[in-house]
Amino acid sequence: MSNMIDTSVTLSGIKLDNPIIPASGTFGFGKEFAQLYDLNILGSISFKGTTVEARDGNKTPRVADCQAGMLNSVGLQNPGLEAVVAEEIPQLAELCSKPLIANISGFSVEEFVTCAKAMDSSDPVGIIEVNVSCPNVHAGGANFGTDAGQTAEITKAVKAVTSKPVYIKLTPNVTDIASIAKACEDAGADGISLINTLLGMRIDIKRRQPVLANRMGGYSGPGIFPVAVRMVSQVREAVDIPIIGMGGISSAEDVIEMMMAGATAVQIGAANLVDPWICKTIIEELPLLMEKLGIEKLSDIVGIV
């Protein structure tokens, strides 16, 4: 491998050794993976989505297989903001000294703000990733992220309480992803993360009931990759802020493809669950693949297609 291969990328002034970031909800707070490999090889880590109150999550079964991926309706199970800031983040920071990505969720604008404030004062947090794929309990339960106005409102409110870079994580279950991304940029977002899971459903035909207790759930894994590449490309054309691309990435080739579509960095989600060493493998394979493809500096290919 040539010495000249440079896998580093920069997100809003934060330099990552490489663009590989485990995706929120598929890496817990890193503990399980730290037993398998040194977490400092990662670009960063987006840890489990945090809400103000502790949450037990949805009824089980809340995961299911589907040929080209999986469904989940975990429902944001997490120990709550206080415990995350007081215990989980410091523990994760022991395992990984990189600036972390704090994935936050809320069921009202105020809850997002509360989370953002707390993450702002948590030193290990480098980027705040705002997951807007949640029902807005004050607006009849419709999903925040499907509405450009509401997404922009959250963006503004969060930006007002933190000086850390704010990335808005978009849901793909929308007609026009580009306009929602643009609304975020206009509202001051520092970057966009996409895609969250596609809404899906499977039925157990023997039991004649949905496989998930929650009826529907989020579809992730290789089957959503073509949709993710498309949306990253569309958003790349619509905004100038950096994109963290994700959705079905499972190999170094997928990483290159997502970056060529417009992502500055990428997240790996479901793939961690079936191959817990996948991020390490990809990080090792990336420089070799770059050589083969004649890429010296990885950041050069961002959005070239």
């Binding site: 909800g25 598929t26 890496f27 817990g28 503990k31 399980e32 993976f33 037993q35 398998l36 489990k48 037990d56 999550g57 089980t60 079964p61 809340r62 995961v63 299911a64 297989d65 589907c66 040929q67 080209a68 991926g69 999986m70 989940n72 975990v74 199970q77 894994g221 290789p222 479901a270 961690n272 669950l273 079936v274 191959d275 817990p276 060493w277």
Partner: protein, 241 residues
């Protein structure tokens, strides 16, 4: 936990729709019965979890029922085929906590971790009482092996075609002081109503199997727990039925 490759030694039907799979490969990290492996099956995305029945000397056995695509694919494996599996996963039975004379109770295909547990306790001189329950005589498997253990054994069948007629609870004959239980949820619940203390092998639909996804959560008296990582064996006092 490692990602190991296992070679199929034998894969035989031992009761209608139930198979015994013997595989060779790394079993060095397995600590006790109740732990499981998570098998990668070609063409399926998520792995399929299976309890480890027997282990030692680089060999393991799995007993599984064909219920869907994954187990159907497993049933087609032949000697010489191989697959990847994460091994071992979960915490098995807390053997030191098990008092002498405990009842080890297994139901149907889920009974198997009980067999290995019984052997270990027998060897430790803890003289367990094994109760296994099935629907009918034809479904009983491993009966010889259980008998050969030399521990006290009661068999129950729903139709009375062998042993006690009824469920394992009927075979328990009153309230037990300490039980170790593997089997379907309703059976475990019924046993718990007739036992003072014990350990239970909880079931759950899983994705990762190693604690990363929160897919398998169960709410216990000590809060939400991951069946795969914090279990699958839980203490009776912790379980909310």
């Amino acid at each position: 936990m490692k990602d190991n490759r296992y070679e199929v030694i034998k894969n035989e039907m031992i009761a209608p729709g139930t198979f015994l799979l013997t595989i060779a490969g790394d079993d060095s990290e397995i600590k006790c019965p109740g732990q499981f492996i998570n098998i990668k099956i070609d063409g399926l995305y998520l792995r399929r979890p299976m309890s480890i029945c027997e282990y030692g000397g680089g060999r393991m056995t799995i007993i599984y029922k064909v219920v869907g695509k994954g187990t159907d694919a497993l049933s087609k494996l032949q000697a010489g085929d191989s697959f990847d599996a994460l091994c071992p996963l979960g915490n098995g039975f807390m053997i030191d906590d098990i008092p002498a004379g405990a009842m080890l109770i297994g139901g149907g295909a889920g009974a198997m971790p009980i067999y290995k547990l019984a052997r270990i306790l027998r060897d430790e001189g803890k003289d367990p009482h094994v109760i296994i329950g099935f629907n009918r005589k034809e479904e009983i498997f491993f009966a010889e092996e259980f008998k050969n253990l030399g521990t006290r054994l009661t068999v129950a069948t729903m139709d009375g075609s062998e042993g006690v007629k009824g469920t394992v609870v009927d075979a328990m004959d009153g309230t037990a002081d300490y039980v170790c239980v593997c089997g379907p949820d309703p059976m475990m619940k019924a046993v718990a109503e007739h036992s003072k203390d014990g350990q239970f092998d909880l079931g759950a639909r899983m994705a990762c199997g190693f604690g990363a996804c929160m897919g398998c959560t169960v709410i216990t008296n000590s809060g939400p727990k991951r069946v795969c990582k914090d279990g699958p064996i839980f203490k009776q006092a912790d379980i909310i039925w």
